[in-house]
């Protein structure tokens, strides 16, 4: 068993919600030194252990205490009771570029920020080039950061933070910065950290990220740890939690087929005559297991609401991998289906008989368009599903493959590899 890197021991954190703040002496005297307050427990006896080399995701709604927990672990906040023991050097990415001095240059800020994060000058000297390189700000490094764009700002912040060489990296929803390419770069960096056996604690709103990166996930709700489980399981619990509390959630069609809350306008809507009310999927053992197996059949349903009767409508489906790359797109027009929709709600199912996908998390997006290509409505991601392959082949897709041993006949070689033929003739 590896050592424990972060141990949270029964941490509670109370916030006093003041009804009006009394920050001046006059106000304090008038109100007898006490402002009317209401206690709010952001964390209640939270206990958790993170082992070295583990990547743990923290999921939770807004206000569930995720950020408070991270701040306690980083030492930015002190818990009201309990304690956090951190073994190893910790770098917290609570906010990128926190502590940058507007008037100083990028170069000076790298040194200042580095030392704020606990690096010595020598250490910064050593990684300075790596930081500049990662941030892609070579041309601007001697300009004051107040002239940086917000993208440049966070890039520099992230570059410094990941080069601190921490044993433990704590990330609070900062992976959603910069353009797509830089995001990819950040995630690659985080994955490299994992490979090096460092410990990562990650707060995110994106369940996909949890699935993609984490070994384990924790679901927080109202300051309590609701669940501590494998990522897929935790995401499921998180989503169910959302449902209970009335949040938006993908609902399997069998469970609530027609009783969907319809949030669209009920009168005729000329610009968007057909809107998506929900998207959901199901597969044979939907209620029993959190994943489908390679070769299972799968149904992706698109619930819609038509505000006018129309036949000028196309339903589209896109399948994406975890990085958001679309690897398949189709629509009812391509499939040769024509639908004549009456006014009112309805459901269109896309049925895939034999899923050729292997291990991974995949998502789908659905859309409704006119035949001319005018987009009526779009839902991205419509939902996500996990696939597990029972076989030993690896990769993300399986194609029917056979293997035979073929004799070295001239004709077949000539067909497949003409240059090989010359070689054979030279030998003969």
């Amino acid at each position: 068993m590896p050592d424990i890197a972060v141990e949270v021991k029964d941490v509670s954190k109370r916030f006093r919600l003041a009804h009006g703040r009394y920050n001046s002496i006059k106000e304090r005297v008038i109100h007898g030194g006490r402002a009317p307050t209401e206690d709010f427990w952001a964390l209640k006896d939270v206990a958790l252990q993170v082992h070295e080399g583990e990547t743990v995701g923290i999921l939770g709604r807004n206000g569930s205490g995720k950020s408070t927990l991270l701040k306690c672990i980083c030492g930015v906040l002190q818990p009201t009771s309990g304690e956090v023991v951190v073994r190893g050097k910790l770098a917290g990415l609570l906010e990128l570029g926190a502590g940058f001095q507007q008037d100083l240059t990028g170069r000076e800020n790298i040194y200042l920020n580095g030392s704020l994060l606990g690096m010595s000058k020598k250490e910064v000297d050593r990684v300075f080039d790596a930081i500049v390189d990662f941030s892609e700000l070579e041309a601007f490094i001697d300009g004051a950061v107040k002239f940086y764009s917000s993208g440049m700002y966070v890039r520099l912040g992230f570059a410094v933070a990941v080069n601190v060489d921490p044993d433990i990296l704590v990330i609070d929803e900062v992976l959603a910065v910069g353009d797509e390419r830089f995001q990819r770069k950040c995630i690659d960096r985080v994955k490299a950290f994992q490979k090096e056996g460092r410990t990562i604690l990650l707060v995110t709103h994106s369940p996909d990220q949890v699935r993609a990166i984490c070994d384990r996930a924790i679901v927080l709700s109202h300051g309590n740890v609701v669940s501590e489980a494998l990522p897929g399981e935790a995401v499921r619990i998180f989503r169910e939690g959302l449902l209970e509390e009335g949040g938006a959630l993908v609902v399997p069609p069998e469970e609530q087929p027609e009783a969907q809350p319809i949030s669209v306008m009920l009168g005729p809507d000329v610009e968007h005559p057909v809107r998506i009310t929900y998207a959901a999927h199901t597969y044979p053992r939907f209620g029993e297991v959190a994943y489908l197996s390679t070769g299972d059949s799968m149904t992706i349903g698109v619930g819609y609401h038509a505000s006018i009767a129309t036949d000028d409508v196309v339903f589209s489906l896109e399948l994406r991998d975890i990085d958001g790359n679309c690897f398949m797109r189709t629509d009812t027009d391509i499939l040769g289906e024509r639908f004549d929709l009456p006014v009112g709600p309805g459901l269109v199912n896309f049925i895939i008989d034999d899923i050729p996908l292997m291990d991974g998390t995949f998502s789908y997006s659905v859309g409704i368009l006119s035949k001319g290509g005018v987009l009526f409505d779009w839902k991205e991601p419509g939902g996500a599903f996990d696939v597990m392959s029972p076989g030993k082949a690896t990769g993300f897709i399986t194609l029917p493959v056979r293997a035979v041993l073929a004799p070295p006949e001239r004709d077949s070689i000539a067909l497949m590899a003409p240059e090989e033929l010359a070689h054979l003739e030279a030998q003969a």
Partner: protein, 313 residues
């Protein structure tokens, strides 16, 4: 113990985040962040004069102007003919400016750096200490100006008092540091503190024998009634006197006194008390003891208040 076993396991530092962190742990954390302290001081100075043409020269011009004003008021308008009055003034102002600047800027430092305090974990006391640190840098620049004055005015310091002066300097830094740490934390909860301290410091300035001579104005009047100790409740007084004794070096110089009829008579000025080295050392050590005690109390109080910084800012 915990540290040692963790070290043995792989040179990993163990850090505990809890509502109670001991004062000794705080001291250790501060020591470990000393490099950060230097960076913060450097940053503060750099930022302060970043876009000004004269830059650091301003740090010398400002006290020189103060000096000029006091000189005009006291020597020209009020007719004080104390020899080398400028040096006398400068000696007192030098140490006072260090103290005043450190306490004044230190008080607002947590509130002004809310962005870092809320998002980055480091010993926050460092911010207050950095304010005192940059006051020390300005002290250094002013000392340079001072040396020029000493040479131009042919005023030779009493070098035998130099070690005492160093002691007084360290004491002033400790005192300002303790106050800055304490007040910076209090200021988060009571924002009046930074305005209040401004007023208090103005009064405090006049409670120190900086623009008026100690011996003739205070010593002679309070000694007979045995009330001199009241004046020495001000911990900065011994430090100011030490600086004056070393730099100004005239205990009771001979100068001219303006008579009611407008003529000047040669007379003796009683500027400084007629003490030996030991008396100065004693007083300064006393203040140092107070300063260290204050610093420890300040760290403890800071620790108590620190837990809720992030939500109060």
């Amino acid at each position: 113990m915990a540290d040692a076993s963790a070290m043995a396991r792989g040179h990993k530092v163990t850090r505990v985040v809890s509502p109670t962190i001991s004062v000794s742990q705080r001291m250790r954390d501060i020591w470990l962040s000393r490099e950060l302290l230097i960076y913060l001081v450097r940053t503060e100075i750099k930022v302060k004069y970043k876009n000004s043409v004269l830059g650091l020269v301003w740090s010398m011009i400002a006290p020189a102007m103060t000096l000029a004003i006091y000189f005009i008021v006291f020597q020209v308008v009020l007719g004080n003919r104390q020899p080398n009055f400028v040096i006398f003034l400068f000696a007192g102002l030098l140490i006072w400016n260090l103290f005043q600047l450190g306490v004044q800027t230190g008080t607002g430092v947590i509130v002004n750096n809310a962005g870092i305090v809320k998002k980055v974990s480091f010993p926050r006391e460092i911010l207050a200490l950095a304010a005192v640190g940059s006051a020390c840098v300005f002290f250094f620049f002013q000392t340079c100006v001072m040396v020029i004055f000493l040479v131009v005015l042919h005023n030779s310091p009493d070098w035998t008092y130099l070690p005492v002066l160093v002691l007084a300097l360290l004491t002033a830094v400790a005192l300002a540091g303790g106050l800055a740490v304490l007040l910076s934390a209090v200021n988060v909860y009571l924002r009046d503190t930074q305005h209040l301290i401004e007023v208090i410091l103005t009064a405090w300035f006049w409670a120190c024998p900086i623009v008026y001579a100690f011996q003739s104005n205070i010593g002679k009047r309070l000694s007979p009634s045995h009330l001199l100790w009241v004046y020495f409740l001000n911990p900065v007084t011994p430090l100011v006197l030490t600086f004056q004794r070393c730099i100004y070096a005239h205990v009771s110089p001979v100068g001219q006194v303006k008579q009611p009829d407008g003529k000047y008579l040669t007379a003796k000025y009683f500027v400084l008390p007629n003490w030996g080295h030991l008396r100065y050392v004693e007083l300064d050590l006393g203040v140092l003891a107070i300063a260290i005690a204050l610093f420890l109390v300040a760290l403890a109080v800071f620790g108590r208040l620190e837990g809720n910084f992030a939500e109060e800012l």
